[in-house]
């Protein structure tokens, strides 16, 4: 057990936890940030994806010790007040969900991709998203939503 300080969604959190605890367990159990989901615990499904310094990482495999000093963004921290992130808005516009349990991880993975590449091709999207599972099979809509969000970001909105 040790004192740790975490930067999550622009806030600072102090907590006492075992440094080997997964970031996912910390988010969900200690901080009640339940938007990041458990799906497999082996980094295979992507439901737990968060941004670490703007890049998608699987929080189920990330020990607390690896997150110190890093900027962590979860699904709860993407919108600016009432203004949704363009990727969130595009998922709504395209109806890119059914049960939506995968949605947080899908959105975060897409934001990570678009942070690095404002105009991804289909092929680049597939490569970036292949590690995220949607059992309901909404993949074509997610693809469409990512293209739509890319367009919005390219035009510099919002």
């Amino acid at each position: 057990m040790s004192e740790t300080s975490l930067h999550i969604n622009g806030r600072e959190y102090q907590l006492t936890a075992d440094r080997q605890t997964s970031l996912l367990a910390v988010l969900r159990e200690f901080l009640d940030l339940t938007g990041s989901k458990y799906g497999c615990g082996e980094g295979q499904c992507g439901a737990c994806t968060v941004l670490i310094d703007g890049k998608a990482r699987r929080s189920c495999l990330l020990p607390l010790s690896a997150t110190e000093g890093k900027q962590i963004t979860t699904i709860e921290g993407l919108a600016k007040g009432e203004q949704l992130h363009p990727v969130q808005q595009a998922f709504l516009d395209e109806g890119a969900m059914q049960c939506a349990y995968c949605t947080s991880g899908m959105i975060i993975s897409a934001v990570s991709l678009l942070n690095a590449n404002r105009n991804p091709s289909d092929e680049e999207i597939l490569t970036a998203m292949q590690g995220n599972i949607c059992r309901c099979g909404t993949y074509p809509r997610i693809l469409a939503a990512i293209h739509k969000a890319a367009g919005v970001l390219q035009r510099g909105q919002p």
Partner: protein
């Protein structure tokens, strides 16, 4: 510390599916409703006797309840808020939205003013569960009737208040409008200070689909924003103050019994509670890391007898058929004279098809949060059968059902895989011992192992056909996988069709479309085999043997849109498969391409034509149709549970492949919006045509006939694989 003075409980691992009906129908009488919901207008829909028997399992009413079997109710509060109550649950099939549309349509109220309480056993009418694609044909209709009745009551109230005939009034945007004077009264104003309760017979006239303005349109998911912001709390996200985390010690194999257990080391951990009760061993701890550690310190010894493994599965199924006297009478269909028809034909075929066990693998595993307060139990859990889970809890804990409250927050999908309440029972058992609320979330490995599977099956087909392409004989035997979709819809004079139940080596249960996928696979591949043997076009051959007008329509319209008769590139193949399930008509067309240098077979495109009557939400329906096909790719090509001696060998996603982004070809849906036909469900039927269509397309392209699901492993001996 293990609680010592408790009555030993037996947790039954085999309980799933349609369990015996429970004793009580209602938690609340009519008066209680106004206490819970406040004043206003309360309308309940009564079921006819026949419907009541079918939908509620023939349950009786307790004395103080509403006068007849009730299927749905609706409340309009003094602030104009409309709340509808249904035992159906939202698992991603989007019924929270489609049912809201139905209410908005009939009640002429804004969508934003309507909310649904779903699957809360204290507040909603009894419901058997959300399965069998019953929500749209049954609950959608019921809520429309309740809403139409509420509208009529509001019209009558306004007419009385203004002392005018109701005929000069109309309902519009949450108001009653006087068309002569243009004055209006909102629903909120009308119900202010009232406590009006009415039970309506199930026969109010409804707005016909051709006049729909809200239903029939593509309304986005009503609470979509909560899902893209992470705000929605799924069952596994529930939390209570002083909550503990549970963890179960799993047996070494299926059907294992506990020989001995040493929990001393685990009990030394701070805050840990260990429970041993019959074959159940579990722990609860203030955080999940401690719970995991405690479970790892438990030393349990199990005994299990040798069990059937996947490599001998199909021999086992053929050789272990349940005795005939234990079967249901309608497991066999016999028409005409099959033996004579087979004997007199020169074109006969006999083939065997196999279907492996597969897992539902809902992305949210089973989860429950259980809380005891005195002898009252409250459980939040992900289930398609909240009332079924309540019965399981009542039985496991010897507690009357009225002391158990099950709530079902919209969950991370089910696909027929969450009918059972084992996780809720486990969480409640731990919570009772811990004297804290306990949350239990199954791991992926547990979900893959201790849930239940889509049944495996062996199907034998024998057929005879005349020179002109008319089928004369059809014999069809299904071992174990089930009887859903077992009847042929082709017009065949001599038939013998039989379902042979088997004592399954794995725990099995419902799965999206049940056995219909297996039965359609065997039937529609066999149809293709006959067509090719006669050198007939497979679609033309089907139509020659098919009278059912709506099924013909999906085949014909789908073929047009797919360009079935159009040109085909070299090394490409076309295939079709279709049928009828859960009142929906489906035809799926597939194009594949073979790359002989790489050995890869690629799905190029999929088109599914579907008729489910009048379409309630076209965009939601498209989402279901395309999603079902994408899910179906897994069972068709690569999903298969491997097991050995009571253990699952591929119980993680890294060993059990499910469809991912790159597996999805160009995919489209054709909706035959039949406004002249009642609306029916769409969550299941669209999955049935895909696997046979792929098999038939691969044959068209390569001449290789694939007769097993999954098909992928069958390609290896040919030096081919699906990409």
């Amino acid at each position: 510390m293990t609680p010592k003075n408790e009555v030993p409980l037996t947790i039954e691992p085999e309980r799933y599916e349609f369990t015996a009906p429970a004793t009580y129908v209602f938690q609340s009488g009519r008066r209680d409703f106004f206490k819970i919901l406040g004043a206003g207008l309360f309308i309940a829909a009564a079921l006819s006797k026949a419907e009541a028997a079918q939908e509620s399992g023939g349950r009786r009413n307790p004395e103080d309840s509403l006068p007849q079997e009730i299927s749905a109710w609706l409340h309009i509060g003094e602030n104009g808020t409309i709340t509808a109550f249904t035992g159906k649950v939202e698992v991603g099939q989007n019924i929270r939205t489609s049912l809201t549309q139905a209410i908005a349509e009939e009640l002429k109220a804004p969508v934003e003013s309507i909310s649904l309480v779903m699957g809360d056993t204290h507040l909603v009418p009894f419901d058997m569960g959300t399965f069998g694609s019953r929500t749209t044909p049954v609950m959608n209709l019921r809520l429309r009737r309740v809403s139409a009745a509420a509208r009529d009551v509001l019209l009558a109230m306004a007419a009385k208040q203004w002392n005018v005939p109701p005929s000069q009034l109309k309902a519009e945007s949450g108001k009653i409008l006087d068309t002569k004077t243009n004055r209006s009264l909102s629903y909120a104003q009308l119900v202010k200070g009232q406590q009006i309760a009415q039970v309506i017979p199930d026969e109010d006239p409804l707005i016909p689909p051709r006049e729909w303005t809200v239903a029939g349109q593509s309304l986005p998911k009503v609470d979509g924003r909560d899902f893209v912001t992470g705000k929605h709390r799924y069952p596994s996200d529930q939390k209570l103050p002083d909550m503990f985390y549970g963890k179960v010690v799993r047996p070494s194999a299926f059907n294992a019994t506990l020989v001995s257990v040493d929990t001393k080391e685990a009990e030394k951990l701070p805050g840990v509670i260990v429970v041993r009760d019959a074959n159940f061993v579990g722990v609860a701890a203030p955080d999940s890391a401690t719970a995991n550690k405690a479970v790892s310190l438990v030393r349990a010894e199990w005994h299990a007898d040798p069990q059937t493994s996947s490599r001998e599965l199909f021999d086992y199924l053929k050789q272990n058929v349940s005795p005939r006297e234990e079967r249901n009478d309608n497991s066999r269909i016999e028409t005409g004279n099959l033996n004579a028809a087979l004997a007199s034909s020169t074109h006969t075929r006999q083939q065997t098809y196999t279907i492996n066990y597969i897992a539902h693998a809902p992305l949210e595993p089973r989860a429950a949060l259980a809380h005891w307060s005195d002898d009252q139990l409250t459980v939040w859990t992900g289930t398609q059968r909240p009332f079924g889970v309540r019965s399981e809890l009542a039985e496991a804990f010897h507690v009357p059902e009225e002391k158990i409250h099950v709530l079902m927050p919209d969950m991370g999908s089910g696909y027929g895989g969450k009918h059972s309440g084992e996780c809720a029972v486990e969480a409640a058992r731990l919570a009772r011992a811990a004297k804290h609320p306990v949350k239990l979330v199954w791991t992926r490995e547990e979900e893959f192992t201790w849930a239940y599977f889509r049944p495996a099956g062996l199907i034998e087909v024998r057929s005879a056909v005349a020179d002109d392409g008319k089928i004369t004989a059809w014999e069809f035997h299904n071992y174990n996988s089930g009887s859903a979709g077992i009847r042929t819809y082709y017009d065949i004079p001599n038939q013998r069709i039989e379902f042979h139940p088997v004592d399954s080596p794995l725990r099995q249960g419902s799965y999206r479309a049940l056995a219909s996928s297996a039965n359609h696979f065997a039937r529609e591949v066999h149809m293709d085999e006959i067509a090719h043997s006669l050198k007939m076009d497979p679609l033309e051959f089907r139509l020659k043997n098919l009278k059912e007008e709506r099924l013909r329509a999906v085949f014909e319209e789908g073929a047009k849109k797919f360009a079935w008769s159009g040109t085909k590139a070299a090394d490409h193949g076309f295939g079709v498969g279709g049928g009828y399930e859960k009142l929906g008509y489906v035809a799926t067309f597939v194009e594949v391409a073979v790359n002989h240098s790489s050995g890869e077979i690629k799905l190029v495109r999929i088109l599914t034509a579907f008729d489910c009557g009048a379409v309630v939400n076209p965009d939601g329906l498209r989402n279901q149709l395309i999603g079902a096909n994408i899910m179906g790719i897994g069972g068709a090509l690569f999903e298969s549970i491997e097991f050995e001696n009571g253990r699952i060998l591929n119980n993680v996603f890294s060993k059990y492949r499910v469809p991912r982004f790159r597996d999805v070809p160009s995919i489209d849906a054709l909706l035959l919006d039949r406004k002249d036909q009642p609306s029916v469900g769409a969550g299941e039927a669209p999955i049935i045509g895909l696997a046979p269509a792929i098999s038939n397309a691969v044959f068209d392209a390569t001449g290789i006939r694939l007769r097993s699901m999954p098909m992928g492993p069958l390609l290896a001996p040919h030096g081919l694989r699906f990409s």
